[in-house]
């Protein structure tokens, strides 16, 4: 039985790479992986998620490049302190992603309080997960 490094069910149609990168970032933000903690090796990541080792390698390289992970020679890859957002990241989230969410919400007939509630739930879910892991 292989250990699954983090909660992730791969969906079809979206790039595997993007999905794994997203799941890793979520795991960092929710404290599932804390700064200083060892990150799974490429081999463990590939086996756990059932993806090609080259894809797992690309994910780790990307996370290192984005400064989520640090390479400590002799130790391996460890989780870094959350990196600073790039200029434009916040603005993009507030404009495009929120717009997309609002349009989709209106399409399926949700009301504003319901959306706000859902966002607030998700927000505290990640915060709570973090608190549990960092008492």
């Amino acid at each position: 039985m292989t250990h699954v490094p983090f909660g992730l069910v791969l969906r079809s149609g979206q790039s595997i790479f993007d999905q794994v990168v997203f799941a890793a970032q979520k795991a960092f933000l929710s404290g599932e992986y804390r700064p200083g903690q060892a990150f799974p090796s490429v081999r463990a990541l590939a086996a756990g998620l059932k993806i090609h080792p080259n894809t797992a390698h690309k994910v780790v390289q990307h996370l290192i490049h984005e400064r989520w992970l640090e390479v400590h020679p002799g130790v391996g890859t460890v989780v870094a302190a959350a990196p600073k957002a790039r200029a434009g990241d916040r603005q993009r989230l507030l404009q495009q992603e929120v717009e997309q969410l609002v349009v989709e919400a209106k399409r399926v007939g949700l009301r504003l309080p319901e959306i706000i509630q859902a966002i607030s739930n998700e927000w505290s879910k990640i915060d709570r997960a973090r608190e549990v892991k960092e008492p």
Partner: protein
């Protein structure tokens, strides 16, 4: 490149199955050859395995012309095909015993663990196995030789989800140690295992790229201007499916980078109010690229 074809042509009577196919497979990659039925996938793989001879162009496998492949190369190649003939009267065990001495690299322990993992009954005649079991048996015959190159022709067609998972899981365990060339008519089937993809249609390559590059370089873009959009006289390289609606221009950028896009937008338009950039689902990337390259637009 562990496999390369250049301007490959192959016809069956009057039907041209391959019409100038050029693909390149990097060592260590898992290259998925995707295309609709009749695109020429099986013909390509059969040419590469020297089962068929091309009329024109060249194909090299492990650095050797496909027409000159010998035991020295074949002992490093595993081949599993949907319509491969296996000796029906032998049991799986007997067939493995037959194969073993041909391969110096054969790993007996690996053979045993593969049989167990795939839950293959070793003492049933191959002719009496179901299609799914037969495909698993073919894989069990190819993996223990620890091939440098594994060629899989539509391995998943006709397999149920459970068998497909077993097959895939076993394949992934050795994926890092070899190059895989796998054909399929269904992208969703092989996206887990593939690191590279080549899309072929009517005997020609429409595009090939690494999966990561492919998803990274395609974006849906909407540019909103203060006034009406006048489409640029010369459309920048890689912009496809341009559409104008009032003061909004939308297109698919197939050579996206943040810097490049903002530069081209700034040189072509004035009074930019907003630029909206979105990633595109893998499936849409495929249909967009396939359609536009086929129509000769890209």
């Amino acid at each position: 490149m562990i496999v390369r074809t250049d301007d490959l042509h192959k016809a069956f009577n009057r039907h041209e199955a391959l019409r100038g196919l050029s693909i390149a497979v990097e060592e260590g990659s898992a290259y998925a050859l995707i295309g609709p039925n009749g695109a020429g996938k099986t013909t390509t793989l059969r040419v590469l395995m020297n089962i068929l001879k091309p009329e024109r162009g060249s194909a090299t496998v492990l650095g050797v012309d496909s027409r000159r492949l010998t035991a020295a190369e074949f002992s490093q190649i595993g081949y599993v095909s949907e319509n491969q003939e296996l000796p029906a009267r032998l049991t799986v065990r007997q067939y493995l015993e037959y194969l073993r001495p041909f391969y110096a690299s054969w790993d007996r322990k690996l053979e045993d663990s593969i049989l167990e993992e795939l839950r293959l009954p070793p003492d049933i005649r191959i002719g009496n196995l179901s299609h799914g079991m037969r495909m698993k048996a073919a894989l069990a015959c190819a993996l223990p030789l620890k091939p440098r190159l594994l060629v899989l022709d539509e391995p998943f067609s006709g397999l149920d989800a459970l068998v497909r998972d077993e097959f895939m899981e076993r394949l992934l365990q050795q994926a890092g140690e070899m190059t895989i060339l796998i054909s399929s008519h269904e992208l969703a089937e092989i996206e887990h295992v593939a690191t590279h993809v080549g899309f072929i249609d009517q005997g020609r390559l429409l595009f090939q790229d690494s999966m990561v590059e492919l998803t990274g370089r395609v974006r849906e873009v909407r540019v909103t201007l203060e006034g009406k959009v006048v489409p640029p006289a010369a459309v920048p390289d890689g912009w496809l499916q341009l559409a104008v609606a009032g003061n909004v221009l939308s297109f698919v950028d197939t050579r996206f980078s943040e810097e490049r896009l903002s530069q081209s937008v700034a040189t072509h338009f004035k009074g930019i109010r907003n630029v909206d950039v979105r990633p595109v689902a893998l499936r849409s990337i495929f249909t967009t690229l396939a359609r536009t390259t086929r129509d000769g637009e890209g």
